[in-house]
Amino acid sequence: MNAALGSVSTHAKPATVERPAFAAVAERHLDTVYRYLLMLTKDRQLADDLASETFVKALRLWHRFDPRRASASTWLCQIARTIALDHFRAEDRRRRREDRYARRESAWDDQPFAEGLSPSLEAGLRELSAAEREVIALRIVLELDGDTAARILGISRTACSTRLSRALHKLEEKVRSHAVA
């Protein structure tokens, strides 16, 4: 993860850094991380679990956080993304081993994952891939700028814009089709 933030230059003379307290940072950005994971996983319980893991890991790595290189929310979102990807990998392995993908999918479909959203929007979100939901989460829900979102995703700013545009178009189509239905 630190590689995504770039390595500390060995030529610049680093100054002493005042790092905020972890508790304050966690309190301030908990909703951000939760919403991000919720959009990514479309599962409230899973987002809850992964958010906990995110902050556990963040506390362990807190000594490495350099506020000069990235904001706390960016840093936390990157950790959250890593944790989510680890979860998806584990799930992928488990599904291939146990071949229970269909049952798991239907379980997801039953429960609404976001309160307050219209049924058509929620249905539309469910039909997007995690990658599409992710870019929407970062740019729209969390209101991160293009550069920061691209950095978290590990892609270029242009690719991020393109991905967002496609995701929104697709979501709009899905919402419209569900609304008509």
Partner: protein, 379 residues
């Protein structure tokens, strides 16, 4: 001017609705608060700086220590080898004193007829090593020729002489006479290089092979051809090597006899096959060692004289032999050069592997990213 990050207005309704997404539930908030309360107080410090410091310092220390070690080894080698009892010391002592080195106190070299063939088992264990070199001095210009110590062991004799002649006519005459000397003494001319004189300057170089027993005579006769500018004689003892080879030949013959006797007996097919292989191997080794010994003896029977003739005047001065410090520095430099060559060689050999490792790491990262993208597409 619209920001690059602005979302298309057609999605305003979706955006507005998405931003009403609920925040973290209270249970999660409580858990995170409890977790955050565990944070130990940490003094403000440069994040990651200790890593950078450690890495930089470690690298600097490692490189510095390695370089110091290499230089220390080279210097130690240079000091140890510069003052040893070798021919060089003999050279420097004698040349500085301007003395000739007639070994009058030593008995003359035994004629070849009186000396048993060196191929047999001369068990005299002299202190000399198998390749002990005895450089018996370089004479300064105009001095008498150096004579050789008597040899009772099989040895390769190599003489290097440089003579100055008065003019190009004399150069031509001396070249012809040198060839006659070699032939007269039962030897031959291995090579001649006579450069066409330019004006009053000319050079010639010859490689002569003469019977070892006649080398003293050859040197004496060649010395008369001009003024000696420099001269060096090396004797490389090969007696031990020949003795060792002879011992090995004896052992191989015994082994061959033993295997042949065994083959005449009643043995199983597998055993016979194995013995045949051993016998072939032993015979091949015997042939090789026999040829090797014969070659060594042949070389020892003929001495090599490298003779250089010149008309040039500026060869008068012979450079003084290097002192101990200079020798130490030269030897140390030689070792350092070899160490550097070894390092370069290792880097050259390792660089493809390092490149492959780097390429594999990059490919691994790219693959991991593709896998993650696929997971997100499917999730």
């Amino acid at each position: 001017m619209p920001s690059r990050d602005a979302i298309d207005e057609r999605f305003d309704e979706i955006v507005r609705e998405l931003r009403t997404l609920p925040g973290a539930p209270d249970s999660l908030r409580e858990r995170v608060r409890e977790l955050a309360a565990q944070e130990p107080p940490v003094a403000a410090r440069e994040p990651g700086r200790w890593r950078a410091w450690l890495t930089f310092r470690s690298v600097a220390w490692t490189l510095g220590s390695a370089a110091t070690g290499f230089v220390a080894i080279a210097l130690a080698y240079g000091v140890v080898t510069s003052g040893g009892g070798g021919g060089d010391d003999d050279d420097s002592g004698m040349a500085a004193a301007g003395q000739t080195t007639t070994m009058a106190q030593l008995s003359p070299m035994a004629p070849p007829a009186a000396r048993p063939p060196a191929t047999t088992f001369d068990t005299e264990q002299a202190a000399a090593e198998d390749r002990a070199r005895v450089a018996v001095g370089s004479a300064t210009a105009g001095r008498e020729a150096v004579t050789l110590p008597p040899g009772q062991r099989l040895a390769h004799h190599t003489a290097t002489m440089r003579l100055r002649v008065s003019d190009v006519d004399e150069l031509s005459r001396a070249t012809r006479e040198a060839m006659r000397v070699a032939r007269r003494l039962g030897g031959f001319v291995a090579s001649v290089n006579y450069a066409k004189p330019k004006g009053d300057e000319g050079d010639a170089s010859l490689t002569l092979r003469v019977p070892t027993a006649k080398i003293q005579q050859a040197i004496a006769q060649l010395s008369d051809l001009g003024v000696i500018v420099s001269q060096r004689i090396e004797i490389t003892d090969v007696q031990n090597r020949v003795n060792d080879t002879s011992d090995r030949i004896l052992r191989l013959r015994r082994t061959i006899r033993r295997i042949e006797l065994r083959l005449r007996q009643d043995v199983s097919e597998d055993e016979r096959f194995r013995l045949q292989l051993q016998l072939e191997q032993a015979r091949a080794n015997l042939r090789r060692l026999t040829e090797q010994r014969a070659s060594t003896v042949r070389r020892a029977r003929l001495a090599t004289i490298a003779l250089a003739l010149t008309t040039r005047e500026d060869e008068e001065k012979v450079a003084p032999p290097p002192g101990r410090v200079e020798r130490a520095a030269r030897n140390a430099a030689t070792v350092l050069a070899k160490e550097l060559a070894a390092i370069v060689w290792v880097l050259i050999v390792l660089s493809p592997f390092l490149l492959l490792a780097a390429a594999a790491a990059v490919a691994g990262r790219a693959r991991r990213r593709r896998v993650d993208e696929r997971l997100l597409e499917q999730a």
